[in-house]
């Protein structure tokens, strides 16, 4: 490491970077330019800042998935950082209250990918009139729902979400990328429920891509038997509302 004496007050790296990006005001820019003319130490820093850097593409969730598959997450701070980002995303999306987490999911069966039976759970989060409730069990037409998935870290989960009412199956969320497992990982997107009877919200999870077309051809019983489901009922059927 070489140490250089600045002729005066060294130009900070922040100022140098803003100078080269053209973000400084006229007088400030002129002052920086004058200092650079007189100070080899700061000029050397600017020369370094002007060296071209090729940025790696900003990873998106699929890249994260591939990193996990390569076993990188957990070994590098990127993994930690990205996991933190996902956790923050969950917070940012849901703004969960401080209430206790409710294990709202009934595990219908084990999913694939080597995840053991009890290791894959789902929990529903309901937003009603701006109030977010974790583990709610009744729905009204205006409610918005999100699904949180808990599965073993360092696993990758391909998934689809099905809502089953009697024999009728619908898929409320848009097809999306696989998720990196963890605790209460939010599935992308949200949905509403409109029904007059109990419905099952089922996560079909697998180590390989889930084929919605194939799921669509399955009868409800087969689908739920291979999925992780939780039940919710219309608000009017909430026992608290029954006569």
């Amino acid at each position: 490491m070489s140490v250089h004496l600045c002729t005066g007050e060294p130009l900070s790296w922040l100022r140098l970077e803003r100078y080269r990006l053209g973000e400084l005001s006229g007088p400030e820019r002129d002052a920086v330019a004058a200092h650079l003319d007189a100070c080899p130490a700061c000029a050397a820093c600017l020369a370094m800042a002007n060296q071209k850097i090729t940025l790696a593409p900003l990873p998106e969730p699929p890249s994260l998935v591939s990193r996990i598959r390569r076993g990188l997450v957990g070994q590098s701070p990127a993994g930690a950082g990205l996991r933190v980002a996902f956790a923050l995303a969950a917070l940012a999306l849901l703004v969960l209250p401080g209430g206790k987490s409710k294990q709202g999911a009934r595990l219908a069966s084990r999913a694939g990918l080597g995840i053991k039976g009890g290791d894959l759970t789902i929990a529903l989060v309901r937003e009603r009139n701006g109030i977010v409730e974790h583990g709610a069990s009744t729905f009204a037409p205006e409610d918005r729902w999100k699904v949180l998935v808990t599965c073993p870290t360092e696993q990758v989960l391909f998934w689809d979400l099905a809502v089953v009412e009697d024999e009728h199956v619908t898929f409320p969320l848009l097809p999306s990328s696989p998720i990196a497992c963890g605790n209460h990982v939010p599935l992308p997107g949200a949905f509403r429920l409109a029904a007059d009877r109990l419905v099952e919200v089922c996560l079909v999870g697998n180590g390989d891509p889930v084929d919605r077309g194939a799921l669509s051809t399955m009868d409800a019983k087969s689908l739920t038997s291979g999925a992780t489901c939780t039940t919710v009922q219309p608000a009017q059927q909430d026992p608290g509302h029954l006569p």
Binding site: M1, S2, V3, H4, L5, C6, E9, P10, L11, S12, W13, L14, R15, E17, R18, L21, E23, A41, C42, A44, C45, M48, A49, I53, L55, A56, L58, P59, S76, P77, A78, G81, L82, V84, A85, F86, L88, A89, A92, L93, R144, K146, V163, E165, H168, T170, P172, L173, L174, G189, A190, F191, R192, L193, A194, A195, D196, V199
Partner: protein
């Protein structure tokens, strides 16, 4: 029964695009900054990308360089505070990434090894000041602006930093040119 899918963040795509623009514009500067702090390009890249991913996930649409500069500082400090990362970071140091180190006549040169020790005995705010002053060469006015505090507060934090440096045996003079 009818179920409906709808986007939770209607403007997420817009936020994503703006974050990508910011990444392309400020990414190199932030990468250099992170390199100075953690001493290797792989970890620095991870830190910078994590900052932008968080930006996207939070749907934040505007982020200027000073804001991002501080975000990267915080993340790097978190990294350095984690004992599990330290050995790896110290082993992977690439001294050239520190860049030319400039000094004022009364300043020490703080090397990464020393910074790792210092972050243990400094509070979060003082540790930030340590980085801004000794790694990023910010003036006290710039630090005050970045941290949103008075210059006097920065002076007090800087005094704590110098005291900690002195108690740990000082910095490193390096090869003066």
């Amino acid at each position: 029964m009818a179920t409906h899918a709808f986007p939770l963040e209607p403007r997420a795509e817009d936020a994503n695009n703006r974050s990508m623009d910011a990444y392309l514009r400020y990414g190199p500067a932030l990468l250099r900054k992170a390199c100075r702090m953690v001493g290797n390009s792989a970890d620095a890249e991870d830190v910078v990308q994590a900052v932008f991913i968080e930006l996207v996930q939070r749907g934040r649409r505007e982020a200027d360089l000073p804001y991002l500069f501080r975000a990267v500082t915080t993340r790097c400090l978190n990294l350095l505070r984690d004992a599990g990362n330290r050995r790896r970071l110290l082993e992977r140091q690439e001294p050239a990434l520190r860049g030319p180190v400039r000094t004022r006549c009364d300043d020490e040169v703080i090397v990464i090894d020393l910074m790792v020790k210092l972050v243990d005995c400094l509070d979060r705010d003082a540790a930030e000041v340590l980085v801004y002053r000794y790694f990023d060469d910010l003036t006290q006015d710039e630090i005050a602006s970045l941290q949103g505090v008075s210059r006097k507060t920065v002076g007090a934090r800087l005094a704590r930093v110098r005291q900690a440096v002195a108690s740990l045996g000082g910095g490193m003079s390096g090869e003066v040119s």
